[in-house]
């Protein structure tokens, strides 16, 4: 398992360096190698997660190490899906270092228990449905995070490129970053996808709550934060569709939405509640 993680980490590092190289050299070259390197890293990464799953005997998303590795995995999966459509050389330059750091974190974070929390263990024995709903709920939410990461990166790229165009700086960033419309499109599509996934994630969570104790909502910090995140993205989508909000304003809002996602992920942990893990 450790050897697999190290291999995946090394491949991703190769991907990071290669994407920097492609980004820095301007001559148009067919960029077929990068998706291959990343795909290879992804395969190894997948194997590492499966091996871990087999070893611990439950869906491995219990401690921060596992969550970190799984988010990284989801980002790569999402990137591979959209890289077929968008030839944006700049996207991997932002995403791959993040993936690398997440995977690195999954190896250096303090090792906490790999066992299921007692709460969940007890639940699985009383309610077999939990065994299914737990991975589904978590996977949906984490894939929505991956899509929001891409929305965030697109927003950042949009703002840089927009600034270059407005300020008439036609330098390195202008040359290398994608067109504004492309940034906007990647960002908005990812936002839509992320929103749908998050909605499903929240719905499964509510359903699960109800299954467990007949209450839909507990005002748990993470629940509240997730609701705020969901409302922010709903707000962006609503105004985009009705008032034609786009471009700079949407880019800033996407960045704000992402900050709340981070708070939901990390902050809610600090505030306690029964979403103890992840």
């Amino acid at each position: 398992m450790a050897i697999l993680l190290v291999s995946a980490l090394t491949l991703y590092l190769g991907g990071v360096l290669y994407s920097f190289y492609v980004f820095a050299t301007k001559a148009r070259r067919p960029d077929k190698e990068l998706p291959m390197i990343v795909l290879l890293g992804f395969v190894v990464h997948t194997a590492a997660i499966l091996v871990n799953w087999y070893q611990v005997g439950h869906f491995p998303i219990v401690n921060p190490r596992e969550v970190s590795a799984f988010i990284g995995w989801a980002i790569v999966a999402y990137f591979l899906l959209i890289s077929r459509r968008y030839q944006a050389r700049a996207l991997p330059v932002f995403l791959l270092p993040l993936v690398y750091l997440l995977l690195l974190a999954s190896m250096v974070l303090p090792e906490t228990s790999r066992e299921l929390p007692l709460l969940l263990q007890g639940e699985i024995t009383t309610n077999p449905l939990t065994k299914i709903i737990f991975p589904v709920h978590v996977t949906l939410v984490i894939f929505s995070y991956a899509a929001f990461v891409v929305t965030f990166v697109s927003g950042v790229m949009y703002l840089i490129q927009e600034h270059e165009l407005k300020a008439k700086h036609f330098g390195a960033a202008f040359q290398r970053l994608p067109a504004l419309n492309t940034c906007d499109e990647i960002g908005y599509r990812s936002l839509t996808i992320g929103f749908v996934l998050l909605t499903l994630g929240v719905v499964t969570g509510i359903f699960w709550n109800n299954q467990r104790d007949g209450r839909y909502w507990h005002n748990d910090p993470k629940e509240v934060m997730a609701l705020v995140t969901w409302l922010v993205y709903l707000f962006i989508m609503h105004y985009r569709l009705t008032a034609g909000w786009r471009g700079r304003r949407v880019a800033w809002l996407s960045i704000a939405g992402f900050v709340i996602v981070i708070l939901t992920w990390l902050g809610a942990r600090a505030l306690g509640g029964y979403h103890v893990f992840g």
Partner: protein, 425 residues
């Protein structure tokens, strides 16, 4: 066979001289035929553009010390009634490797006024096609020119020499691509139909823009241009109403004050749901209020912006040109070597063929006296003749191969012999 180039270009001759020596298109076939008459040259291509006049010729290697370029000089002077001294002063004469190097550079647009401009490659191609139609090119120049086009393609693909726009009208396209990515689906509106605006519009259409609207104070001019560009003429009073329909506006009128104001653009944006717009102001004094650049989803560029990009891109091209020169040097060396080798093989082939034909001609001549031959006898005779030819030619062929350094007088002598031979035929 030797490659010779005689020419003048914007680097060596002022426009008055270039004009005098330029070939009118209608007279090119005549000139090509006169050149490739085997007396002046074996094969010829004439490249005549506003920046250069060049004769590319393949000539038999001369046996005497006559400079091969001098015949081309005589031809040029004769054809254009020009004094030899004028031509001498402004022209360059290149042979073999230097000539190949020059042809590769010209075709790859490294010798152009604006380095990397793609037109010259097309012009050289046309010149070569005309020479093919006229029948003034043979094996050697066909190979050379095809190689030159391949080198130009390689330079274009492997360096960034042509990747950025250096003319204002192309810069507008480059900027549009940074806003819209794909021009497919965009509509362009010209406000005022100046020459520069027209050029930019043509580039945008070539790069995928779907639709063009033309608004002009003189409506008839708008209609005329609209017909030419397959667009739609718009009355000048109506241009504001149509702003909401367009992604790209190019403004170039002689108006002394602003024609497009922030309020108009705000209204247009509202009705187009903020889908982005790009405005290009190439009029001086400016016709679009610069305050518009502060609005979201609108990108305004004036002439200075376009020019600063063009200048930066030009500097970039010059850096890329250094890499292109390395490719050209490599390709020149390779082609010169191939050419020299082809040459010795041609001489060897001609020599062997001649020896064989003499031997078998003698066999035919003796047939009567030989009477009827059995199949075995016939075969034995042929084997014998072939053996004689081989034994006889072998030492000469060996000597020819050894002397193949491109400068051998031995090879030159044989070559001379066979070219005289060819000419007689």
């Amino acid at each position: 066979m030797s490659i010779v180039v005689v020419g003048i270009s914007h680097k060596t001759a002022p426009v008055e001289i270039r004009e005098r020596l330029a070939f009118a298109e209608s007279r090119l076939p005549e000139a090509l035929q006169a050149l490739a008459d085997k007396q002046t040259a074996s094969e010829a291509v004439i490249v005549s553009t506003c920046n250069r006049v060049e004769i590319i010729a393949a000539m038999p290697n001369s046996q005497n010390s006559e400079n091969p370029a001098s015949r081309l000089h005589e031809f040029l002077c004769g054809f254009h009634n020009c004094e030899a001294t004028v031509l001498e002063k402004h022209s360059y004469n290149l042979t073999d490797a230097a000539a190949i190097h020059h042809i590769f550079r010209v075709t790859s647009s490294l010798d152009s006024m604006v380095v990397g401009e793609p037109q010259i490659t097309g012009q050289v191609k046309e010149a070569f096609q005309l020479a093919q139609q006229t029948g003034s090119v043979g094996h050697t120049l066909t190979r050379l020119m095809n190689r030159a086009f391949a080198v130009a393609k390689r330079v274009r693909n492997e360096t960034g020499i042509g990747s950025s726009a250096v003319s204002i009208s192309y810069v507008a396209v480059e900027l549009a691509r940074k806003v819209f990515e794909d021009l497919n689906g965009t509509t362009v509106m010209l406000v005022g139909a100046g020459e520069m605006a027209e050029l930019a519009a043509k580039h945008l259409l070539n790069c995928g823009a779907n639709n063009i609207l033309i608004a002009n104070r003189t409506y008839e001019n708008a209609v005329k241009l609209a017909e030419e560009l397959n667009g739609e003429a718009v009355r000048f009073e109506d241009f504001e109403r149509r702003l909401a329909d367009v992604e790209i506006v190019i403004c170039s009128t002689g108006s002394p004050n602003y024609l497009i104001l922030p309020a108009q653009i705000k209204r247009a944006l509202a009705s187009r749901h903020n889908r982005p717009m790009m405005l290009v102001d190439i009029s001086v004094p400016r016709n679009i209020d610069p305050a518009i650049n502060d609005l979201d989803n609108v990108f305004l560029f004036d002439v200075d912006d376009l020019e600063s990009i063009a200048a930066a891109n030009l500097a970039e091209r010059q850096r890329e040109a250094v890499r292109a020169e390395a490719i050209i040097a490599e390709e020149t060396e390779r082609f010169a070597a191939v050419l020299a080798e082809g040459d010795v093989n041609a001489v060897i082939g001609a020599f062997r063929q001649q020896a064989e034909s003499v031997a078998f001609a003698e066999l035919e001549r003796s047939r009567k006296r030989l009477g009827d031959l059995t199949e075995d006898q016939e075969a034995a005779l042929r084997v014998m003749l072939n053996a004689i030819v081989n034994k006889f030619t072998q030492p000469v062929i060996k000597q020819l191969r050894e002397s193949d350094d491109g400068h051998s007088s031995y090879l030159a002598a044989w070559r001379g012999f066979y070219h005289r031979h060819e000419d007689k035929e």
